[in-house]
């Protein structure tokens, strides 16, 4: 069945993947499984004359129950509607609504039921008086039930899309023609979560704590639900696991910085207290471990249902791995800890380049995720790379199912990658990972220089260095301020 899906007009690249992941979670692809052909994508359609970045999309879902489940768990779905009619003018809308014969129609018209009609607009403001007139205009629908403004049985919504007025177009290219939708609401997102979990009220914060909205989107991509075990190898203050725990998953986290995982800022301001603050179950485990040399016992595999993380890319926070600064720099012979100083020795750590970090992450995920388990992580991309195709990390055990970009500055953006484990972790794959691990270790310095994202993001741009900067500025297309993908 086709539903009208109205999104909040933000994080455009994240909207469809969220709905598709939740569709997976609520069993929308169940039939496809039986045919042996796993599907991760839904059918989408755009309303007439709408831009792909428009907040309005039509989506095909197997049942109203699934549509409702998706909408109420989502973060970015403003409303999911059974469409009763649409048109370019109120006359067209009227004809369309009157000829609508969906199965959901008759029960809503019965006496004894309660209903409400609201007006929503995109691209223009409609005064309350006008709204009243518009609502009364629907008197042609033979409602026999009572109007009830608070908690009615059926919510109806008139959506007016008209962003063709002078300049005020919400950053979208103007819709060629005004469009009207009328539909019955099937479900909507619970955005009250966001003020509850917003970072400014979080007790323990780090410099790279994940924004609550994004953390919930990540947890949705990872299909976090009760009974699942979710792991974050770069847990920090736990901001991603908090979202997964909210959806009922059991959580486990590791970090190389012991001050963050063990101490925090005191007994009531640490990773544990961040869970306690929201009444969430505590993580099953927090430990200090190095993602480069994870301490999992040999033979342990397929224990996590999902791995969610924001690896250190070396822009705001750099990764560290064990082995010692000096050894890694190659300037000093291997450091041996004297026997009398072994207890209480604080090992130094060396820089951990992104390429190696991502390699280790994929290897760990390939081994430790169950089949069908999800790896969800951010990967940074330089925006100046003119190559039209992005090169995301790949692994023989994983299938990339979606990538969502979030632009961070004119220089770089981060992309949320969602991968599904589709192949077993074989001995050959493990061996190849060991070889690669040694290669990283031997050529540590070379890798550090090659993968230095920090300098690419912060070095002065060439345009400012050259004398003819003025001319070249005119030649270069100004980068669109609008953050959508297609503009």
């Amino acid at each position: 069945m086709w539903y009208l899906c109205a999104f909040f007009h933000r994080l455009l690249d994240y909207r469809k993947p969220e709905v598709e992941s939740l569709a997976h979670l609520f069993g929308a692809f169940h039939d496809e499984y039986q045919n042996g052909d796993v599907s991760y994508h839904l059918q989408w359609n755009l309303p007439l004359h709408h831009h792909p970045d428009s907040p309005f999309h039509f989506v095909n879902l197997p049942s109203e129950q699934i549509a409702r489940n998706i909408a109420s768990r989502s973060i970015l779905v403003k409303g999911m509607y059974e469409l009763w009619g649409e048109g370019g003018s109120y006359e067209e809308l009227r004809d369309s609504v009157l000829s609508f014969v969906g199965e959901g129609k008759l029960p809503c018209l019965e006496s004894g039921s309660t209903f409400r009609i609201t007006v929503d607009s995109f691209g223009k403001a409609i005064s309350l008086k006008e709204q009243m007139e518009l609502i009364q205009g629907f008197s042609y629908i033979p409602f026999k039930g009572q109007v009830k403004l608070k908690d009615p049985d059926h919510n109806f919504c008139l959506i007016v899309v008209d962003n063709n007025n002078d300049g005020a177009n919400n950053g979208l290219p103007p819709v060629v023609q005004k469009r009207l939708f009328f539909g019955r609401e099937v479900g909507a997102a619970d955005r009250k979560l966001l003020p509850t979990y917003q970072l400014k009220s979080r007790t323990y914060l780090g410099p790279t704590a994940m924004d609550a909205e994004m953390a919930f989107l990540m947890a949705n991509q990872a299909l976090a639900t009760p009974g699942k075990l979710v792991y974050d190898p770069f847990v920090g203050t736990g901001s991603i696991l908090v979202a997964a725990a909210h959806f009922g998953a059991m959580t486990m986290g590791a970090d190389i910085d012991i001050r963050v995982v063990r101490d925090g800022r005191g007994p009531d301001c640490n990773v544990w207290s961040n869970f306690k603050q929201y009444g969430l179950p505590m993580p099953v485990a927090l430990l200090r471990a190095d993602n480069n040399l994870p301490p999992w016992r040999p033979g342990l595999k397929e224990v996590f249902d999902a791995i969610i993380c924001d690896p250190p890319y070396g822009v705001r926070a750099g990764g560290r791995k064990s082995g010692g600064r000096k050894l890694l720099k190659g300037t000093v012979a291997p450091y041996v800890v004297p026997d009398d100083k072994r207890n209480g020795h604080i090992p130094s750590t060396g820089a951990y380049c992104l390429v190696e970090c991502v390699h280790d992450l994929l290897d760990l995920a390939a081994r430790m995720l169950i089949m069908g388990g999800r790896l969800v992580f951010f990967y940074p991309v330089l925006r100046e790379d003119d190559s039209s195709e992005n090169h995301f990390p790949e692994h023989p055990c994983f299938k990339l199912i979606c990538s969502s970009e979030q632009i961070l500055s004119s220089r770089y953006s981060r992309v949320l990658l969602t991968m599904v484990k589709t192949g077993p972790y074989t001995e050959e794959i493990a061996e190849a990972a060991r070889v690669k691990h040694m290669e990283f270790k031997e050529n540590h310095l070379k890798w550090l220089e090659d993968g230095n994202l920090h300098s690419a993001v912060f070095s002065p741009s060439n345009a400012q260095l050259t004398e003819e900067a003025g001319d070249s500025k005119f030649l270069k297309d100004p980068r669109p301020k609008y953050r959508g993908k297609y503009v």
Binding site: I256, V284, D290, H345
Partner: protein, 122 residues
């Protein structure tokens, strides 16, 4: 640190072949009640090294687990609640995990095992 975590960890020092199971030196053990999830336990049961769990629970002062285990035991509520208690409710707050081969101590403080290796162990 719960015994579930203990059951997953090993000493990964360079050259150490049998780094599992880590011997527990318990200084402070706490018990925290958590809600039982039978499905999760049954799922975890397949992945647990039973002998290591028994030894660890004894080191923590709990002797309620049977010596041998097999899938038929999962039908028993009594067994499930004992398994649940050992796996998820016993916490090692202070102490150490000791590598069975090299004797290296990995300290556990405030419930957090510190598994980071020294420079010459990598």
């Amino acid at each position: 640190m719960r015994l579930l975590t203990h059951n997953m960890l090993s000493s990964n020092i360079k050259g150490v072949i049998n780094g599992f199971p880590l011997r527990i030196e318990a200084v402070k053990v706490e018990e925290k009640t958590v809600e039982m999830n039978a499905d999760l336990l049954k799922n975890m049961f397949q992945k647990i090294e039973w002998k290591a769990l028994i030894e660890a629970s004894r080191a923590m002062g709990y002797t309620g687990l049977p010596e041998e285990s097999d899938f038929s035991l999962l039908e028993s509520d009594e067994f499930l609640s004992r398994f649940h208690h050992a796996l998820l409710e016993l916490h090692l707050e202070e102490g150490a995990l000791v590598c069975p081969e090299s004797g290296r101590r990995f300290p556990v403080s405030k419930g957090i095992p510190n598994m980071l290796l020294h420079e010459d162990e990598v």
